[in-house]
């Protein structure tokens, strides 16, 4: 059973997508501090900092894999961004636009499979596309003043790779682990477990 019968969001879909966003909003907030703290450590090759980027993109893919409804990835990533802004992120209201861009990426991947397939390759594609959304935004907005060959390009490529691995594959593994705990029983992702 891969997709739910109706595309209407149930209350539990809305609340759980929001809760995932909140949990990651809190993680982002902590991650933002860590990000700044690692600036010095990454100074030798700042584009490598993008390796950490993937964590920012997990909620998009995770919500898509769990909720399996149109808009889940976009909604969750955007709400996570708003929450991190409410908690006082240093990037403030810009992160909301950023969240939108990133969410659209994952959303496109799930839409391309008509919200019917949620297997590993789809998750990886969703991760890659969120990474692409993020990379485009940063390429134009944040990194404009940097050198193309030694910074902007490697930064964008590393972002996409990081997103594919951490957000794409990571979210897939996480969904499996969550399903094993039984919390996803109300979702198609959590249905196939042994009876006790």
């Amino acid at each position: 059973m891969n997709h739910t019968d109706s595309n209407r969001w149930r209350t539990v879909d809305i609340v759980v997508a929001s809760v995932i966003a909140v949990a990651f909003g809190v993680v982002f907030w902590a991650w933002g501090l860590l990000w700044s703290a690692t600036d010095a450590a990454f100074a030798f090759f700042p584009p490598a900092q993008a390796v950490l980027y993937g964590v920012w993109l997990v909620p998009a893919v995770l919500a898509g894999l769990i909720i399996r409804k149109p808009g889940a990835a976009l909604y969750c990533e955007t709400v996570a961004a708003i929450i991190s802004a409410l908690l006082g992120s240093q990037w403030a209201s810009i992160v909301i636009l950023q969240g939108l861009m990133q969410g659209i990426g994952a959303e496109l991947a799930f839409a391309a499979f008509r919200y019917r397939s949620f297997r590993l390759p789809v998750a990886a594609l969703a991760g890659a596309l969120t990474g692409l959304g993020a990379a485009i935004f940063d390429f134009v907005y944040w990194n404009k003043a940097y050198d193309f060959a030694s910074y902007r390009l490697p930064y964008a490529l590393i972002t996409i790779v990081s997103a594919t691995i951490v957000a794409g594959l990571g979210a897939h593994v996480l969904t499996r682990a969550l399903a094993n705990t039984g919390v996803l029983d109300r979702f198609p992702a959590g249905r196939d477990r042994a009876l006790v």
């Binding site: 809305i14 909003g25 908690l87 940097y146 910074y151």
Partner: protein, 266 residues
């Protein structure tokens, strides 16, 4: 500690404005401002922002406390630019191995740091002066956001402090069950990971139960919702948005007139 309370004096004239208007004003302001990479426009913008701060009822000390992570970001920009700047024109100021600092590099760095501050401050001010419930209400009533989603997100947001408490309880529970990491950093990282996972599981479980409780009170009844708290969008709110657009536009114009304008695209 995560602090969720709005920090503004509640009676301040601009803090009282409609949350959607405040958010829109901040967005408009930043979107116009990011059109340039020069230092002049953001410098003007920062001056304006600091000048209107009292109208939002936010004290400078509070702002400084919320904005300090920005300073770390500024250092990061500086280091990165010294190493990777695209534009290295102008007289050379410092050369040591791969490090080549020219006047052009410094001007770009100044521009970027100021820009970061200028676009971050409005967001900080808006969110610091806005109650989440009011924001959700205004999004529903004035921005036509879907009510189920806005209220759902708001209900989940209420869990932030609970999650923080939960983290502590989980850590204590592991210890009570004989699980700890001692001084081994790898074990510490694994314990951190497993605690974070348990937190996520607990959060989803709470979310599922909360959804049931919300349905029990008719959240998915399908009847059109009424609103108990009216949010008004009045002339002053429109003026706030227009004012933000005009101020940002004026900063850009000034930078064009002074010849420092450097467009983001092109």
């Amino acid at each position: 500690m995560i602090n969720l309370e709005p920090v503004a004096a509640p009676g301040a004239p601009l803090a009282r404005r409609n949350p959607v208007a405040k958010l829109a004003a901040a967005m408009v302001f930043t979107l116009i401002l990011v059109a340039t990479l020069d230092p002049v426009a953001p410098a003007v913008a920062i001056a304006v922002e600091l000048a209107v701060l009292p109208l939002f009822g936010v004290r400078y000390r509070v702002l400084a406390r919320r904005a300090w992570p920005l300073l770390a970001g500024a250092v990061g920009i500086l280091v990165t630019l010294v190493l990777f700047a695209a534009d290295r024109s102008g007289p050379v100021l410092l050369q040591a191995g791969p490090v080549l600092v020219t006047e052009g590099v410094l001007v770009t760095a100044l521009g970027l740091v100021l820009r970061m501050l200028a676009v971050a401050l409005p967001g900080i001010v808006v969110f610091a002066t806005t109650d989440p419930t009011d924001l959700a209400d205004a999004l529903i009533q004035n921005a036509k956001a879907p009510a189920r989603f806005a209220i759902g997100a708001l209900a989940a947001f209420r869990m932030v402090p609970l999650l923080e408490q939960e983290w502590r309880m989980i850590s204590m529970a592991r210890r009570a069950r004989g699980v700890d990491a001692g001084r081994n950093p790898v074990a510490k990282l694994r314990l951190f990971g497993s605690t974070a996972f348990t937190l996520l599981v607990g959060a989803i479980r709470r979310g599922t139960r909360l959804a049931v409780a919300m349905d029990a009170r008719g959240f998915d009844a399908g009847t059109p919702r009424t609103v108990a708290r009216r949010q008004r969008f009045v002339l002053a709110d429109t003026l706030l948005i227009i004012g933000a657009a005009l101020t940002a536009g004026a900063a850009l114009t000034l930078s064009v007139l002074l010849g420092t304008f450097r467009p983001l695209i092109g």
